[in-house]
Amino acid sequence: MSQPIKARFDELDSAWSRVVSTLNASRHHDQEKSNVQTDLAVTLLTGFLGSGKTTILRHALERPQGLKIAAVVNDVGEIEVDAHLVAAETPSRISLANGCVCCALADDLSNQLETLARTGDYDVVIIEATGVADPISVAQAIHGTNGCHLDGIVAVADSRSLEEQLGNHHTASLLHRQLQAAHLVVLSKIDLVNEDIRQTAHDLVAKAAPGSRILPVERGQIDVNVLCGASDKGVSITNSENFSNFDVVSTVINPAGPWDPIHLGNALEQSDHQLLRAKGWFDDQHGNRYHLEVVGRRWSIEQSSDGPFQALVLIGLDQIDVDAAAAMLAGITKS
């Protein structure tokens, strides 16, 4: 559990706005009994202007690995996807030949997400929050939206300017909030810094947000399966070599379980496992099937009677991390 920063006067109303957004999201959720059947996974990409969010998004849209991604961005004009991929383009929307779309952030995010969910055309949504947006407020809006769930918050931190941003009192508190809210922290532009600066940036993130899962990335090249959680689409559990291009490793546990879901939840909550992601299905001691999704610190376990198989894929930065997590899981009792 990370230590919060101290309250400051000029921060009070942003704290208040987070309280209000939490309450409003709950209210919206309760009021709107909609008929949206889908359950779209939404990734929230947060980070300062210039931290590299747009590059990561462009990379994901150009190499979606079969996923149909709807990207919601502040300025469609800045995304500059490869012109060959563009099927149609308006000032507020770019449709790609690979089935992905990039559209401008609307004033009412909940409405926009519900509309995207209703089309049934997309597997995942990635929201690029504006640099100064408080990720918690946006996340609460996602929680309050029918037909969607928050898959994870990914913070992008620029390894070149992180030290300066954390040293400036105007930016430090928001950056702290972004890093602490994140389930995964992407350390961007590591190809542009030397080993010392890279290590300093890594340490700064670990200090600002203890327990962070930190993923160093060059030129925005992050595997779309690490970035987004398309629970049961697009990812082939058996074909995990896909990840090898991107400096992450994966392993498959098959069969997964039997585990008591409470014990598994407790183990994940208390563990400092370094997994970036894990996904798949496991059985409990009675043969009930559950779906497991892990995004860094965040995890969810839900009963899933139609889970297709009993296997998990674990994704981590290196073999040591993945093996350690596999060993942790192997130690969980089944009842």
């Binding site: 939490t22 100064v132 965040r298």
Partner: protein, 553 residues
């Protein structure tokens, strides 16, 4: 005239520039019969039964203060949550003291639990800071305060909620619950923590039901009626009528509060245009006319409201070049700007006064363009088109607003509470320093009023504090004078919370000054705002208000 009551005072500032000073005011049937001295009003007293009321004889009387832009009914959330943070906070109902330690917070919660009559309703608090208030709260700690009344505390940063056992039950979790962010003691028992958005969203649902449940709108009106009264306000306007729960329920809540005696104010309900159009379509003008007939001098509808950009503190207003220091986070309202003339035209032609929200100077330009287009299509005099907030503007915009016959209702509080922060954060030094250019408006002869927008932004509701900000323009550091040429005189500032605010609401024929025939609404002060040092304006105590001739105490 059955009976005349004469209130005497140490001094009466009538805000009637022709007859500014008096020492007695005669009132009958809720209206002012005469103002002057006990001697000068004698012709009335000779003809009618009367009595002299000396209760204010050592006080200062002014016309009842008018805050022409508030959101009392929407304020349920803020007032429904107790503040338990470590630092002093400018809450809408005044400054709240910080609680330095966890023990102080626990004592505060204990006091709240002791006075809670209905154990079903949770105690809800916000602002806890484990870093500076000596550590986290937890379930066992809160159970010692009460194991029957649910307690819910949301922290300052990052997002953690603490709950006691009854609250855990209300949320619907127990030791067998599986979910990320639901905290446990080492022995596996739930420890009352909900960490991160997913768990906090879950823990908030039953509380949101309480905060926004049936009756919450009425409860907010009652609480805020008391806050407004304490600040000396006798008239205000709700600027998003219909938006939250619909036109009839919101009207009904205000009407009931007035008949029950819990809302000692006059209230104008200004409909939120997109909602009105959606709900009534072609019948919208009919609906407003019917409501005007149903309304009276206490509760009525007035004007029409548009929202065309974001807010000042959230840095979402729309600015001209060179724009934001960093990322542009502006957003416009629901109605596309290019449709604005078309949307306003039916109301403009029908003579319905337009109140158009514009915080940034680019939005002010768009609003002025729209007003100019309306004038070309259908020229009008005395239309009182009002730009609401008018936070970032230029002197030339003030002149253009004057030329087009418009006026401004200005949020002045940001000059003190926010402007210095935004010098290096969002708006840049020039526009931050020149926030709320009242001096420019005055030089251009644009009528203006001061408002709080309470409580959509975290500033207090206090007309005297607004006047203090307008006169002194002292920044948050307590010493720097921001854009000294935009300061206005004490007299101008006091007009902007009385007679000029009445003008903004097109009620200066009936409200805003102490004149024969007007409503007998007064604000009673302990000190004379024309006599105290201008820097002490905000410290003047409000002793009472008088509404339609009767004390509201």
């Amino acid at each position: 005239m059955e009976h005349i009551t004469v209130y005497t005072a140490a001094h009466i500032h009538t805000m009637d520039q022709g007859r500014p000073d008096a020492s007695a005011v005669a009132v009958a049937d809720g209206r002012i019969v005469s103002v002057g001295s006990v001697e000068s009003i004698e012709p009335w007293l000779r003809r009618h039964p009367h009595s002299i009321d000396d209760r204010y004889s050592d006080k200062i009387l002014m016309p009842g203060f008018i805050d022409p832009h508030t959101h009392l009914r929407l304020s349920g959330t803020y007032m429904g949550l107790e503040y338990v943070g470590p630092i002093e906070s400018a809450a809408p109902d005044g400054l709240r003291k910080g609680l330095p330690t966890r023990d102080a917070v626990l004592n505060q919660l204990r006091a709240l639990a002791a006075e809670r009559s209905d154990p079903e309703i949770p105690i809800t608090a916000w602002g806890y800071d484990p870093a500076s208030q000596s550590g986290h709260l937890d379930r066992d700690m809160l159970d010692q305060i009460s194991d029957t009344v649910p307690i819910w505390v949301i922290a300052y940063a990052p997002h953690i909620i603490y709950a006691n056992s009854p609250m855990l039950k209300l949320i619907g979790v127990d030791d067998d619950s599986v979910g990320h962010g639901i905290g446990r003691y080492p022995d596996g028992r739930l420890n009352g923590w909900f960490v991160e958005t997913e768990a906090t969203a879950r823990a908030t649902r039953p509380v949101a039901d309480v905060v926004y449940g049936p009756g919450s709108g009425r409860a907010a009106i009652d609480r805020m009626g008391a806050v407004a009264k304490a600040a000396g306000v006798t008239t205000t306007a709700d600027l998003v009528w219909g938006m939250a729960d619909g036109f009839e329920p919101e009207w009904e809540d205000h009407a009931r509060a007035m008949s029950d005696g819990t809302l000692p104010l006059r209230m104008f309900m200004i409909p939120f245009e997109p909602k009105l159009v959606r709900e009534f379509g072609d019948d919208m003008l009919e609906f407003l006319a019917a409501k005007r007939r149903q309304g009276d001098e206490r509760l009525n509808t007035h004007g029409i409201k548009y929202v065309n950009d974001g807010s000042y503190p959230s840095m979402t207003l729309v600015m001209n070049e060179p724009g934001y220091l960093d990322e542009d986070t502006a957003h416009t309202g629901e109605i596309p700007w290019e449709n604005m003339v078309e949307r306003m035209l039916p109301f403009w032609k029908a003579g319905v006064q337009i109140h158009s929200h514009a915080n940034g100077d680019r939005t002010v330009d768009m609003t002025l363009d729209t007003l100019e287009a309306l004038q070309r299509i259908h020229p009008r005099f005395d239309h009182r088109f009002t730009i609401e907030h008018y936070c970032i503007s230029s002197p030339s915009q003030a002149k253009r607003l004057a030329a087009l016959g418009g006026q401004a209702s200005v949020n002045i509080y940001f000059v003190h509470f926010r402007a210095q922060l935004h010098s290096d954060h969002g708006f840049g030094p020039d526009r931050s320093e020149a926030t709320a250019r009242l001096g420019s408006l005055e030089r251009a002869r644009v009528p203006f009023a001061l408002h709080s927008d309470f409580n959509l932004v975290v500033t207090p509701l206090s007309p005297l504090l607004a006047a203090w900000c307008a006169v002194n323009r002292i920044g948050a550091d307590g010493e720097t004078v921001l854009a000294p040429g935009e300061r206005i005189s004490v007299d101008s500032a006091l007009r902007a919370i009385t007679i000029d605010a009445a003008y903004i609401l097109n009620r200066d024929d009936r409200l805003g000054s102490i004149e024969v025939g007007k409503h007998a609404d007064f604000t009673v002060l302990d000190d004379d705002p024309y006599q105290v040092h201008p820097e002490d304006l905000r410290d003047i105590e409000v002793h009472d208000t008088v509404l339609a001739g009767e004390s509201t105490n």
